[in-house]
Structure formats: structure tokens, C-alpha cells
């Protein structure tokens, strides 16, 4: 409600920090003494720039938004795509590009920064980009689609983030850094070297101590010429060599700016003009411009407090960082460079494993000052909270094992992005009943920005005795993974034994299929044997996929999508003779729809006789291994992707899993098999195969991430064997590989790194067992449909009615559309219903 007593706050800029100010002020000003007008340059409301790269791997622009519903209303207005280009301090007005003039009582400049583009000739050529906004990413993605190579200028935090993004677009990427090491601001020479080796293993070329002299257009692409006379041809260039504060409003209105830019403000974030404030990356506070979001948030809170009459000041900011670049953990915190007088450094380096850790301590080794972690940053969250405190253990032991979480004092900061202490989190658990990470996030906002403290939050939850329920359902207190271990260890092989020993009641639609899947994964015979038949969902019960009208679809396996003309003809004949609707699936096979239960055996008799077998389209199991024609036919192919896909599909067919598993193999980096949209995807390189894991389409699309590169076929199969079996054993019910890896990340800090430790380094000592389990599966595979056709008792269940086994369900009605059947829905009313197709099978 507007009142005459209202004053007007104008916020210039709607980035993460500007948005934070709006929310912080709204919270502190419930009487609405301030009316807020936000004037933004970008065409969309504030979004999570920290997570920007995820936009390229499937996160939508809407998902990235950080603006809560209902944030803006009559008293709080946001104008998008209308930047302020003039400030009149005398009149206390701003004027926007569209000519809008807004008067203010207080003005907060939150204009952020622009990427620094070095003044080299050619930096403005077509194909040169910066990396800051969603629009930048759209432009880079468009260009990347037409080129195979890219260069990032800048090997700092943002540069490596951009390089990571280019790699995720399938672009061969080099990083050019002026300094002699990567991430010069965060890590020291030793850490930088470990980082360089690690990312080089992952296919990223790093040119260090290299100055770019000019960029030229060459052969439809770009040529970078360096100071030493060498050159590099590339399809695109991304500049990510630091930021420059957006301080032009201050400059044009006579406000003081720093020597290297930045609007000069005092500890309260106020400029020399008492009505004007600056926060975030455009502000120069305590002689420094902060390029991190956490200090920006602190500034927003300070100004919000001041606007309601408080006297908050901006304290020294924590510039600790932890991030995962190309699967490599990098963290630095506190005095990472040992700048404190007489500081001692304790270093642990294992170049073979790619781990580098350094702690900086006081000269008496009594207090922790800071540190650098590369390759294994699992101790980061706990170590960071100890900065400035007495050491709880010897520096060597802290380096190797990390501190115990019970050592965390209540005032130790757990989340530096949102400034949340261990005490606040313990309070939320105790007083507000928070019982899981999501609850803690909602109550305290801890873990909502970069997420690096989530493992620590989990530890605090566990320590408080609050354990999130992992019970499968009301019948079992165990999680699926626990149940799997129990069944594997006890050799119980019937549902009745399992529920009598480890559960209660008679089960449900959750635990029964889960146990059926576990039994199948452990090789307990045909899925319709004995009691197992009663555990199956209808799809597994009838080995076909139920459709909306109660009919089923039939999908024969077509390994790798390769199909002889003879077999293609058989599918056509079967579809014609049974009057089925046919459609090509996304997995390179053919779906036959509209089959009634009692028709399934006759349909499959024909298919099995022609050499087809079950495609497991109905099962939580391996579906298909999609492939391109590869080097056999394609002029671009570098490996025989079709043969590999067929081999893998035949190897893993029938393996029951917590969810469906889809795979793909592409014969070159053009990726026609869309392997990165699969649970595991293989992409050929000149030197072998690159393995990607954890992708999926569906409700929440995800690109698979690079797990290992340049593998021989044997190495690849071994890794995939272990990946599959470990997933089968440890994932939750209905958890695709992507969600499983995310859960591993929550538990172990970095899911992919953890998987490498388990599946490559055999950290848990289970690889031989996983290998043997997969070999058992391969050795015991039989076609489910052929087995049913050979078993009269099982065949006897494929009836429409127990008292009229061959009578068609009279409620099933089809109409024709485009020359084929489809279910006659109540709304269709077009064309006369037909009970079945043009001809019926009469001879078995």
C-alpha cells in the first residue's frame, strides 16, 4: 500500500547482489517505508550467474532465476531491458535508455562488472566472445555448433569455468594464460601444476606464460598470434581474463572511482554522496573490488540495514573459493599464499594421484591461516571454518584426514556464501525441526549458492541424530541399496522369505518391483518364475509396455539399431497380420502398438522364430545402445561405433537395474548418436574411446560428463561393467544414473571423483567382485520371451479372461488415423471403430 510517507529507493542493476538487496530490504522494512524501483539492463530478472555453465548442460534460464515468487508488486517494481544511462545528482534523478526519468531518495548502484577484454588487435572480430550473461552463452553455443575448436583467454577461475563450458559443448579447447600457472589468484605454483596436469588428462590444452599479440581472421576461422611468434588456429575465442567494474555512472557524475576502477565507498558501502551507495562487483570497498558473490551479498545486507537506520559495516570478506573444474576439485581459503609474516607452509603433493594440499599456519604451528587444495578438496568446508583458530590436530594429520566436524564451534562459518554458522544450523535442526538438507536450505539459506558446504550440513544433521529416512516403503525400513546387500549376503531368494526376515506386511507396488529387480540383478532365474511373477509390474508381468487403453506395445531388440532387410520385413509382416500400429522409437528400434494380452505369445512366436528377442523396453533394465554408422560408412567416423554398440548391447541386455539404462556410441566428435544424453555414452576419439556418464533426456535433461578418455575397447568395457554393476547395487529405486551421481556428490563431495576412486583405483576393494558379477550376468543371459514360449504354465497366464482365454477385451476399440490404428478415445468420434486390424492371426 503506498503512503505519502514513502521514500523511493532506486536500485540500478538486477544481478544476484541487486536482487539480494531488494529481498533484504523487504525483510527489514515490513511497513514499506521504502518504495523500490529496480532498473535492469538485462532482459530477464536476476539469475544465478555462479551456476551459469549449467545452462549449457540443460538447466533452463527459468531454473537459474533467483527471484522468488511475489517479490515484485506495486511497491516494488522491476523494469527489465532498460539500463540507466544518466545520473543527475543535483536533481536526484536517473534517466534510462528508454527515456524513463525516476526520482530517488536513495540510489544503490549494483551494476556489477564486465569481462575484461585485453586491448589486442582483432579482439572484436566475429567469433570472439565474453562469458557473463545467458545471451553470451547462447551466442557461444551457436558458434560452437559450427566449429570444432575454441580458445579461452584467461586461466583463472572464470577462464577455466568457460573452458569447461566449451568442452561440454564438444569443442576441443585450449586455455591461454599470461601467468606461469593456472588460477594464479587462488593457487600457488605447486597446486597450479597439479591442476594443469589433471585438466590436460581430460583433454584441455593449457598454454601458460603466453601473451596474445593479435587475432586475425583466417580460413573461415580465427588465428591467434602470440608474443613469441607462434600461432594457433581456432574456431572461436572466449575472453575471460578478469573483470572490470561497471562504474561509468559514478565517473560521469563526478563520484570518486578507484585507480583500476570501482566506485569508492566507505565501510557502510556509501559513496561521498550520502544518497548514493554501491554494492557488489562495481564497488571498491576497503580498497578492493570483490569478484565473488558472497562479499556482494554481505554488502547488500549492510546497505539494507543502513536504509532502515542501522549501522552495519562491511567486514573483511572471506574470499575462500571451492569449485569443481572439469571434475577436478580446486579450493583455496584464508591466507592461501602465505602472505602473513613468518607463516609456515605444510605441503602434501602426490603428482601421480593428482593431489596437492597445502596448509598455511602461524610460525608456532598453533593456528591455521589458510590453504590450497587441488584434486581432493573434501576437507575444504571443515578446514575453512578453522581459519584463525587454534589447530585441533597436527598440520600433517589435518592435511591427510581433515578435521573432525565435532570440532566445529557454534560460531564457525559453515556457509560463506550466505554467512551461516554451525550454530545457526544446529539451531535450525533443534528448534525448527529441520531434518534434511532441503529443510536446512529453506530455514537458513545455507548451501543455496555454491553448495560446497552441503557435505558439512549433512554431517551436522547426522551428528544431531537427525537422520533422513531412507526406508523403501511402509514394509521395509531398509533403503534399496541396503536391501540389495542383505539379499546378496543372505542368499534369500523369495519375496516371502525376505519380507518375513526384514520387513512387515505383504508388500506393495513399491517394494515388490524393487525386490523383483534385486532378485533379477542377482540372477535368480526367469522374472516370471514362481513367486517372482507376483512381484512384477504389469509391464514385466506381460513382458510388454502397457498403453493408455490397456493394450500393450511390443519392442524387439535391434542391437545398435542394425537391422537386416529380412528382419525388417518380418516386423512389417507381424504388424500387418496382427493389425498393430508401428512407430520408430528414439532408441533406433520399432515399436508395435495395440497388442492385446492374449495376442502377445503369438506375436512373439513369430518374432522369436525370425531371430528376434526381447528388447526389455518394458523393464527397468538396459534399453538400447544407440549408434551412428561410424568409420565403416561415414566419411567423418574415426572408430567403428556400430560394432561397439552391438557388442555392448548384447553384453548388458537383460541386466535389471534401479531404473532404465540408455546408452549411445558415436563414431566421432560430431556425436550423431547423442551419446551425451545417455546414462553412459561413448564417443570415439582418434586414440580410442571417451566415456561419459550420467546423462539423460526426459523430465530433467542432463548431459553426461566425461569420466575417462582415450580408452581401448577392453578398458572401456571393463569400466562400463563396473559402472553398471555399482549403479545396480547402490542406487535408489527409480534413481537414474544422473541423480545417483548427484547423491554421491552430496555424500562424498564429488560424485565423479568418488566413482573414479571406486571403479578405477578400487578404493573399496570391490572391483573384482563387480567384474565377476557382471560376467555372471553375461554368462547366464537368456531371452525372456523365448523362455516363456517354451513354458506352458507361463504361457497360460497370457489370457484376456480366466473364463474366456481368447475373448478380446470388448472395451478395446480402435479407429484408423493416417492408415493405422489408434485407440478410440471418447473425444475422437471419427471413423467407425474396428475391433482389431485388417486380418487376424489364425494359425499358431
Amino acid at each position: 500500500m503506498s503512503t505519502n510517507h514513502q521514500r523511493t529507493l532506486v536500485v540500478v542493476g538486477n544481478g544476484m547482489v541487486g536482487q539480494r538487496l531488494v529481498e533484504a530490504l523487504r525483510q527489514r522494512d515490513p511497513q514499506r517505508r521504502w518504495r523500490i524501483t529496480v532498473l535492469a539492463e538485462e532482459p530477464r530478472p536476476a539469475y544465478d550467474r555462479v551456476a551459469l555453465t549449467s545452462y549449457l548442460t540443460g538447466t533452463s534460464a527459468a531454473d537459474l532465476s533467483v527471484v522468488p515468487d511475489g517479490c515484485y508488486d506495486d511497491d516494488c517494481v522491476l523494469h527489465l531491458a532498460d539500463p540507466v544511462d544518466h545520473l543527475d545528482r543535483d536533481a536526484r534523478t536517473v534517466t534510462t535508455a528508454s527515456g524513463r526519468v525516476v526520482a530517488y531518495d536513495a540510489l544503490v548502484v549494483a551494476t556489477g562488472s564486465v569481462p575484461f577484454v585485453p586491448p589486442v588487435p582483432g579482439a572484436d572480430l566475429d567469433g570472439c566472445f565474453v562469458y557473463r550473461t545467458i545471451e553470451d552463452l547462447d551466442a557461444i553455443r551457436d558458434r560452437a555448433a559450427d566449429t570444432g575448436s575454441g580458445v579461452v583467454v584467461g586461466g583463472g577461475l572464470l577462464g577455466l569455468e568457460a573452458a569447461n563450458a566449451l568442452l561440454s559443448l564438444g569443442v576441443r579447447t585450449s586455455v591461454v594464460e599470461f601467468a606461469p600457472r593456472l588460477m594464479p589468484a587462488q593457487v600457488d605454483q605447486g597446486g597450479g601444476e597439479v591442476l594443469r596436469r589433471k585438466i590436460q588428462e581430460l583433454g584441455l590444452e593449457a598454454r601458460l606464460a603466453t601473451a596474445t599479440e593479435r587475432i586475425e581472421a583466417a580460413d573461415g576461422g580465427l588465428r591467434m598470434v602470440f608474443a613469441d611468434g607462434s600461432s594457433l588456429d581456432t574456431g572461436l575465442v572466449v575472453f575471460s581474463a578478469g573483470i572490470r567494474p561497471r562504474d561509468e555512472l559514478a565517473r560521469s557524475s563526478g563520484l570518486e572511482v578507484g585507480e583500476r576502477g570501482g566506485i569508492v565507498v566507505d565501510d557502510g558501502c556509501r559513496t561521498a554522496d550520502p544518497a548514493i551507495w554501491a554494492i557488489g562487483e562495481c564497488a571498491l570497498v576497503r580498497g578492493r573490488v570483490y569478484g565473488l558473490v558472497a562479499p556482494g551479498y554481505d554488502m547488500a545486507e549492510v546497505v539494507a540495514d543502513r536504509l532502515v537506520g542501522g549501522d552495519a559495516v562491511f567486514a573483511e570478506a572471506d574470499t575462500s573459493t571451492k569449485l569443481k573444474l572439469l571434475g577436478v576439485d580446486v579450493a583455496s581459503f584464508g591466507d592461501a599464499h602465505g602472505a602473513t609474516p613468518d607463516a609456515l607452509e605444510v605441503v602434501y603433493a602426490d603428482p601421480v594421484a593428482g593431489v596437492y594440499k597445502k596448509l598455511v599456519v602461524t610460525d608456532d604451528a598453533a593456528e591455521l591461516l589458510g590453504g590450497v587444495l587441488v584434486g581432493d578438496a573434501s576437507a575444504y568446508a571443515a578446514l575453512r571454518t578453522m581459519v584463525g583458530r587454534p589447530l585441533t590436530d597436527t598440520p600433517e594429520r589435518l592435511l591427510m584426514a581433515g578435521p573432525a566436524t565435532s570440532d566445529l564451534g557454534d560460531d564457525a562459518q559453515v556457509c560463506s556464501c550466505q554467512n551461516v554458522t554451525a550454530g545457526s544450523i544446529r539451531g535450525a535442526i533443534r528448534d525448527q525441526g529441520c531434518a534434511d538438507v532441503a529443510g536446512i536450505k529453506a530455514c537458513t539459506r545455507a548451501g543455496t549458492v555454491c553448495g560446497s558446504c552441503v557435505p558439512l550440513i549433512k554431517t551436522l544433521l547426522t551428528q544431531s541424530g537427525v537422520v533422513a529416512s531412507t526406508a523403501l516403503c511402509e514394509h521395509f525400513d531398509l533403503s534399496r541399496a541396503e536391501l540389495f546387500d542383505v539379499v546378496r549376503a543372505t542368499e534369500l531368494r523369495t519375496f516371502s522369505e525376505i519380507i518375513a526376515g526384514h520387513g512387515r506386511g505383504r508388500g506393495c507396488d513399491i517394494c515388490k518391483p524393487a525386490i523383483a529387480s534385486i532378485l533379477a540383478s542377482l540372477g535368480a532365474g526367469h522374472i516370471l518364475d514362481g513367486e517372482q511373477a507376483t512381484l512384477q509390474d504389469t509391464n514385466d508381468q506381460f513382458l510388454a509396455n502397457i498403453q493408455r487403453d490397456g493394450t500393450y506395445s511390443v519392442v524387439p531388440r535391434v542391437p545398435g539399431g542394425e537391422l537386416t532387410p529380412e528382419k525388417l520385413i518380418v516386423i512389417g509382416e507381424v504388424a500387418r497380420d496382427f493389425g498393430l500400429y508401428t512407430k520408430i522409437t528414439g532408441g533406433q528400434r520399432i515399436d508395435l502398438l495395440g497388442a492385446r494380452v492374449e495376442q502377445l505369445p503369438a506375436i512373439w512366436r513369430r518374432l522369436v522364430d525370425a531371430g528376434f528377442e526381447s528388447g526389455h523396453a518394458y523393464g527397468k533394465a538396459l534399453r538400447t545402445v544407440k549408434s551412428c554408422v561410424g568409420s565403416t560408412w561415414c566419411r567423418y567416423g574415426v572408430q567403428d561405433s556400430t560394432s561397439l554398440a552391438i557388442m555392448m548391447e548384447l553384453r548388458y541386455r537383460g541386466l535389471r537395474a534401479p531404473h532404465k539404462i540408455k546408452c549411445g556410441v558415436s563414431g566421432c566428435a560430431r556425436e550423431c548418436a547423442e551419446a551425451r544424453g545417455k546414462d553412459f555414452g561413448v564417443i570415439a576419439s582418434e586414440n580410442g574411446w571417451n566415456l561419459y556418464v550420467g546423462g539423460n533426456g526426459g523430465f530433467r535433461p542432463r548431459h553426461a560428463e566425461l569420466f575417462a578418455s582415450d580408452l581401448s575397447t577392453q578398458e572401456l568395457v571393463r569400466l562400463v561393467d563396473r559402472f553398471m554393476m555399482f549403479y545396480v547395487r547402490t542406487a535408489d529405486r527409480l534413481q537414474r544414473t544422473a541423480a545417483w551421481i548427484e547423491a554421491l556428490t552430496d555424500e562424498h563431495g564429488d560424485g565423479l571423483a568418488y566413482l573414479r576412486r571406486v571403479l578405477v583405483d578400487d578404493e573399496l576393494g570391490i572391483c573384482a567382485d563387480l567384474d565377476a558379477a557382471l560376467e555372471r550376468h553375461v554368462g547366464s543371459y537368456t531371452d525372456e520371451w523365448a523362455a516363456v514360449l517354451a513354458d506352458e504354465e507361463k504361457l497360460g497366464r497370457f489370457v484376456s479372461f480366466v473364463n474366456a482365454p481368447d475373448a478380446p477385451d470388448p472395451s478395446i476399440r480402435f479407429v484408423t488415423e493416417r492408415g493405422q490404428i489408434r485407440p478410440a478415445t471418447p473425444v475422437s468420434g471419427d471413423g467407425p471403430p474396428v475391433v482389431a486390424g485388417p486380418t487376424l492371426e489364425v494359425v499358431r
Binding site: E474, T534, Q541, F542, G550, V802
Partner: protein, 113 residues
């Protein structure tokens, strides 16, 4: 007080044709009935029509329990029904018809609802 049972019973199949904890569809006149034999040996009969999808599929659901209630979950979208009353436990405003059912001389007989 004694009530005379005047319902018409139709024999549908032998009891031992029903698999424990699995359903089977039966055609009674032109009505489709879903028969369920539970773990304790009891037989229940509901309409085979899943009221949420309209498809005649309830007999193909998974049989189990919720608390002490014997249940079947629709194979289409997993809504759970009480086998004794036909009431949908997830949406109690919805129910399916319950048929009388008895076993005589090893034969399952069904009556009108």
C-alpha cells in the same frame, strides 16, 4: 435375523487357477470382474475398470497390503484400492464396484455387486 441370499452366482474358474497375490480378469456376462487371491487364501472381486484411466486393467495391478488392508495398485497410475470395499485409499471419494465372491467345491463364483 436371517436374510435370504437371492443373488445370482456365476461360476468363473477353478480356485487353484488363481495365483496367490496376483489378479485375474473374468467376464461375467458383459461385465469385467477383477479377481484377487490374497496371501491368506481369501478371494476378492472388484470391477476390472480402473476409474482413473477408464481401462479394464485393475486385475493386472500389484497386490499387497497397506497397514492391515489388503490392496491392489492400479497398473496405470498406481492408485491403491481396498480389496474389501473398493475404495481408493489415495482418493477416498473414488471407489470401484465390489462383487460378491465365494468358493464352492474348488470353484470361484461371482455375484452381482
Amino acid at each position: 435375523m436371517t436374510m435370504l441370499d437371492v443373488r445370482t452366482w456365476t461360476a468363473v474358474c477353478r480356485y487353484d487357477l488363481l495365483q496367490p497375490e496376483r489378479g485375474a480378469a473374468a467376464l461375467v456376462g458383459d461385465v469385467q470382474v477383477a479377481l484377487f487371491r490374497t496371501h491368506d487364501g481369501a478371494v476378492h472381486a472388484l470391477s476390472n475398470r480402473d476409474p482413473f484411466s477408464g481401462a479394464q486393467v485393475l486385475s493386472r495391478g500389484i497386490v499387497g497390503t497397506r497397514g492391515d488392508v489388503p490392496t491392489v495398485a492400479s497398473p496405470m497410475h498406481k492408485q491403491v484400492f481396498d480389496l474389501r470395499t473398493g475404495v481408493c485409499l489415495d482418493e477416498p471419494d473414488t471407489a470401484v464396484a465390489v462383487f460378491g465372491v465365494r468358493v464352492r467345491d474348488g470353484v470361484v463364483e461371482v455375484s452381482s455387486p
